[in-house]
Subunit: 243 residues, 2 copies
């Protein structure tokens, strides 16, 4: 499994992904699920992936090759005129890779599907965030749904729904995300640290601060330990039920 969240704030975009992959509980590895592209001053793109690892790695490799090969005719993320066109490129690539694997030979037990979150900003447009489906179509985050989750989305959702505020600063957003990730990690063995964090500041058109947060990070550890107490205090703050 996987857990990734992309979030639109007034100040820009925040991305966080876990790094655990597994094929059964006895075959667990660590892989990066967050990928970035930038042309400073012109564009910045962040992609997070969930689902079949062979599929998502193939998509990222092809996107990378196209970004590097100058004489490659195919559309490249570094040439896309808008975030919408960038999302179309990623979505088309995802659909093609899945179709190729499906016809390649013996059917696998697990499907080749994958889901992706693409966000970023290209000069002339605002920061935008997309959720891309295996079918090759996608939806965009808006005011009413200002964040997307992929992978094991349920455990970490209630806190996001309740505490998200478009006005929050990046520090508060990262804290919120870490609480959401911690709830998920505590409930699903197939989601695990380290977590990759990437911030994209509005109109900077370049990658903002990024960090890899390990399982033994003192701050994450403090959040994880103290969130239990904080929740208990929050419960106590509510009026008691009378039987």
């Amino acid at each position: 499994m996987t857990y990734c969240v992309g979030m639109v704030l007034d100040r820009g975009l925040v991305f966080m992904s876990d790094t655990r992959t597994n094929a059964g509980v006895d075959n667990v590895s660590t892989f990066r699920k967050m990928f970035t592209w930038e042309k400073p001053g012109e564009r910045v793109l962040v992609l997070m992936t969930a689902g079949n690892l062979a599929t998502t790695q193939a998509v990222v490799s092809e996107l990378d090759e196209r970004s590097k090969a100058v004489d490659e005719r195919a559309p490249s993320l570094l040439e896309a005129p808008s975030m919408y066109q960038a999302a179309r490129i990623v979505a088309g690539m995802l659909r093609d890779v899945i179709a190729r694997h499906n016809q390649a030979g013996p059917a696998a037990e697990s499907p080749f599907g994958a889901t992706m979150i693409l966000g970023g900003q290209i000069a002339g447009g605002p920061p935008r965030l997309f959720l891309i489906y295996a079918e090759g179509n996608f939806i965009e985050a808006g005011e009413d749904t200002p964040f997307f989750q992929i992978g094991e989305t349920k455990y970490g959702r209630p806190i996001l729904v309740r505490a998200y505020d478009p006005d929050m600063d990046f520090e508060a957003a990262v804290k919120l995300l870490l609480v959401s990730f911690d709830s998920t990690v505590k409930a699903n063995l197939s989601v695990g640290a380290p977590f990759d964090l990437q911030i994209v500041q509005r109109d900077q058109l370049a990658l903002g601060p990024s960090q890899r947060i390990p399982a033994d990070d003192p701050y994450y550890d403090a959040i994880s330990r103290r969130w239990g107490e904080a929740l208990k205090s929050a419960l106590e703050y509510l009026p008691d039920f009378s039987l």
Copy 2:
């Protein structure tokens, strides 16, 4: 879908279930999913059900008929010598009903499966709580896993894991359950109020307080509204992340 939680406390057992059933999003009804049997002074049993409604209703009807028919030879919940034997009766009934439906005719699109939580106390034994599977086997709650959830279990789990305390009183437990239910209702349309609440006090050997909590219950409404603020305060109480 469904959401039910059964919880073992030092003081006894608490049960809460929602009442929404659906076959698709355009076919929504309200059905009770909590059923009780008692012989005051000797035994008290509470059953909650999730899954195929035809299956769970058939199981409850058969359990009821056996409890009423005095000359019925088959084992009855009101005759079972222990909670373990009561769980065996329910589990066997569940497996039989599913097997009967499976061979009865055209296969349904949705499987006939169901999961149940059975709890209670029979004179001579402590209060016990079981999670019963469609296969007809079951597990019992213990110190390390002191509560069971069935149905849409994920959204409401983190708060239970963090805030559960075997020492809590029934009032606090109901508050905790309502927060867990509220998180689930907010995330999954197929879980909905009214909620049924049943308390079983240790060694009372009779049904304790019970209540149906409607969607517009003032207390539930207050919990639902104020939990968002409480969570935000809890987040603020945590140290900020520094970029």
